[in-house]
């Protein structure tokens, strides 16, 4: 871990409805690299990503304790500026939710609220993002049609494009390719690899091959706890913990 | 629990005496009285049932004329069309409408001393052109004049308009809802004039006028002063007396009536109306702010039943 840790999580605990969902999370996520979070379904990966972004704030019966430091700023400090934090971190949620507007407006939404008004600038942002995510050809004829008519895979890519259009410093992707075919998956993976030169990327993924292909570090979460964290090859090929070994066995064999 | 009310035939039964059901609907003004009368009637004739409901004079008339009820309670004049459809009217009580001002009215002294003539009232309520009190009578002050009339269709307004030779729709002024509303509006505005039923002006228990509101006397003979025999507004007794003897003109005093369809034939119905026209029943009226019929009127109404 040579790089500067950008996100530092200290003693994070999350309770939902009295259930202890995340337990004593301590982790430092390095700058300018791809970190993958893996773990069985329901182990708390999505919850972890959401705490980075304070999206659990207004859910009923949720208590979050501990601290999350981003660029040495504690985002759970009372004086923290949530909007600002969220702009800095782009969360690409697991279930794509297009905003109730056209495809174009979905992508332009972020830049617009952050002050870009110029039509041609917006046009080029939209085009670039849609091309980057491989959606351009599929939707270029109906940019002004409603976004919720897209297929699920298209929605997923649209939400990716929308999230990347605000140029977040940190990208949090929650199973961002789960609904995509191999070709589109490839496009997105390439995109992430390109982006990591400038951004910090945290991905949740179930596909160990994908984790292997694109990530520098891997976090293995099990039942709300971090079991192992380290460089990709170490965790996948020579896991220290028995639990990890069990989990990646399918991959190794 | 729910089902249909038992029907019993109407008439005379040797064992039970009078028995049957009387349905009554109509004006709110008469409703409390009729309820009282029915209670007393039932003490004598326990096997008579009453269904009394209120809903407005027109509803009472419509119900009575279509045979839905036996008696419609009426607090306004009966229109020609209603007579044509078989309406038969028996007066059962009297009421009076008086003009009212605030006791803070700058002209109160003048008003109590000289009253207002009929044609001055007409200028106030029908012409609707006067904007200041002295445009009605030069001896009044030049204060603003605000005329209040009733915004809801009401027997009182109809009667007041009839006194001026018009109908309610010809009265001009700011419409106020309901008698209590009118009394309150008058109390609050020293420059206003309006009209009320007497029981909203006099406290029934004490017979005195309510604080804040004063009756404007009518200068009946138009001589510009209020002679002693024109001045009977001091308390409720003297006013009702004046109404009963006809010293206070009609309109603005008025009849409250029962409307039945055709001349009544049903025994129970006739008995009940007769009961209402007895002195004993009539005596209830005064303590409720209404005025009993006098002897001649009672006789006249009773003959309508024969």
């Amino acid at each position: 871990m040579t790089q500067h840790p950008l996100i530092r999580v200290k003693d994070l605990n999350v309770h939902i409805d009295g259930h202890h969902i995340l337990k004593n999370i301590n982790i430092s996520i390095p700058d300018k690299s791809v970190t993958s979070i893996i773990g069985p379904s329901g182990c708390g990966k999505t919850t972890l990503l959401k705490t980075f972004n304070r999206l659990l704030d207004d859910t009923a019966n949720v208590t979050v304790s501990g601290s999350v430091l981003v660029d040495d700023e504690d985002i759970y400090a009372p004086e923290a500026e949530v909007t600002h934090i969220r702009k800095k971190m782009g969360l690409l949620s697991q279930r794509p939710y297009p905003l109730p507007m056209s495809i174009y407006d979905n992508v332009a939404y972020g830049p617009r609220i952050h002050g870009t008004r110029d039509k041609s600038t917006l046009d080029s942002i939209v085009e670039k993002q849609l091309k980057d995510t491989g959606l351009w050809d599929e939707v270029k004829d109906r940019l002004h049609g409603p976004a919720n008519r897209l297929s699920i895979g298209q929605q997923q890519r649209l939400c990716l494009a929308r999230g990347l259009a605000v140029k977040p410093e940190i990208i949090l992707g929650d199973e961002s390719t789960s609904a995509l075919d191999p070709v589109s998956t490839h496009t997105i993976e390439d995109l992430f690899v390109r982006l990591k030169a400038q951004y910090t990327i945290v991905l949740v993924t179930h596909i160990l091959r994908q984790a292997r292909r694109i990530s520098d570090y891997i976090v293995f979460v099990y039942m709300g706890e971090i079991v192992e964290f380290g460089p990709t090859d170490e965790v996948l090929l020579h896991p220290k913990e028995e639990l990890t070994r069990q989990y990646v066995k399918g991959f190794i064999s | 629990q729910e089902g249909c009310a038992p029907k019993n035939s109407s008439g005379w039964d040797p064992e039970k005496g009078l028995q049957g059901t009387l349905s009554i609907s109509g004006a709110f003004a008469l409703y409390p009285l009729v309820v009282l009368w029915s209670e007393q009637f039932k003490e004598v004739h326990p096997h008579v049932r009453f269904n009394i409901s209120a809903g407005g004079a027109g509803k009472g008339i419509a119900d009575a004329l279509t045979g839905m009820v036996d008696i419609g309670l009426v607090s306004r004049d009966i229109h020609q069309q209603e007579f044509e459809r078989g309406g038969y009217v028996i007066h059962v009580a009297r009421d009076a409408v008086v003009a009212t001002v605030s006791d803070q009215n700058p002209n109160l002294g003048f008003l109590l001393r000289q009253g207002i003539k009929q044609d001055e009232f007409r200028r106030l309520f029908v012409d609707g052109t006067a904007a200041a009190w002295n445009q009605i009578n030069p001896s009044f002050s030049d204060d603003d004049l605000h005329v209040y009339v009733r915004s809801d269709a009401a027997g009182a307004a109809e009667t007041w308009a009839a006194y001026l030779g018009h109908s309610q729709e010809d009265l001009k002024g700011i419409g106020i809802f309901g008698d209590p509303g009118m009394a309150e509006a008058i109390q609050k505005n020293p420059h206003a004039i309006g009209f009320n039923n007497i029981n909203y002006v006099y406290n029934i228990k004490t017979g005195k006028q309510f604080p804040g509101i004063r009756v404007v006397p009518i200068d009946l003979n138009g001589d510009g002063t209020l002679a002693p025999d024109e001045n009977f507004y001091d308390n409720l007794d003297s006013l009702t007396n004046a109404v009963a003897t006809g010293k206070y003109p009609s309109p603005p005093s008025r009849n409250l009536s029962f409307l039945v369809k055709g001349k009544p034939k049903d025994t129970v119905l006739i008995e009940f109306i007769k009961f209402v026209l007895t002195h004993e029943s009539q005596s209830l009226l005064l303590e409720n702010g209404y005025i009993p019929l006098n002897e001649e009127q009672l006789l006249e109404e009773r003959t309508k039943l024969n």
Binding site: - | E39, N51, I52, G55, D63, M68
Partner: protein, 282 residues
Amino acid sequence: MGIKRRKAEETIFKILMVMACLIVGSSLFLIVGTIVVKGVPYLTWDMVSKAPQGGFYIGKEGGVLNAIIGSLYVAGGATVLGLLISIPISIYLNIYLKGGSLLSKSAKLAYDVLFGIPSIVYGAFAFSIMIWLGVRASLLGGVIAVTLLIIPILVRTLDEVIATVPRELKHAALSLGATRWETARVILRQIKPGIYTAVLLSFGRGIGDVAAVLFTAGFSDNIPIYIDEPAATLPLAIFFQLSSPIPEVQGRAYASALILTLIILVIVIVSHILATKHKHKL
């Protein structure tokens, strides 16, 4: 547009919202306050436990039990009847029919129109029919008139709420082999809070309306036992007592209004409990 300006905009609107909420809240509190202040001095046990005895309306003994029971019968009966009619209609329009079909469009338009028709017209309409059928003013007449009055409220509110249910939910049930009716029941479950809102709105409208019952339910001092007897209702009792010259009786009008408010309060609380109980289960 910097973050400061955007935050400022949010702050300004937040202030506006708080002000709006205060205005709305306080005008409403004022109304309830008026009723409480003017009604409490006249609120006695007799008011709620007795029917008017002779002379009640000139300030003597009695209470408005007849009107309380009449109102509960009328509003309760109408709400039940109204639900029985309007739930199927709104389900049909939203679940059985294809979106955008002519029937569903015209039905929505029809209900919007019905919603705006003054209650006096419903009263007059029901009254005309009653004269035509030879039915006199009675509990039944009142229930029918109020049912007509609240059906549009129920249908349109339910309609709006059902429209917000995602289509995927409907598909989920359908693809398990549920019939449309069974699917509808799943959706009704999802919108239960909305149903409470609709019921409360319409019950409130039904129990508070004067004009619809004025000609149809009649007004009687007897506690209604049979469905074809005239029945007093609270709003009419309030209306009627307010116009009395006697201060005592006017005061009782406010006490009656207070009773009416308390009845609604109880119903709001009970349905709230039902609603949260349901949420717990979900």
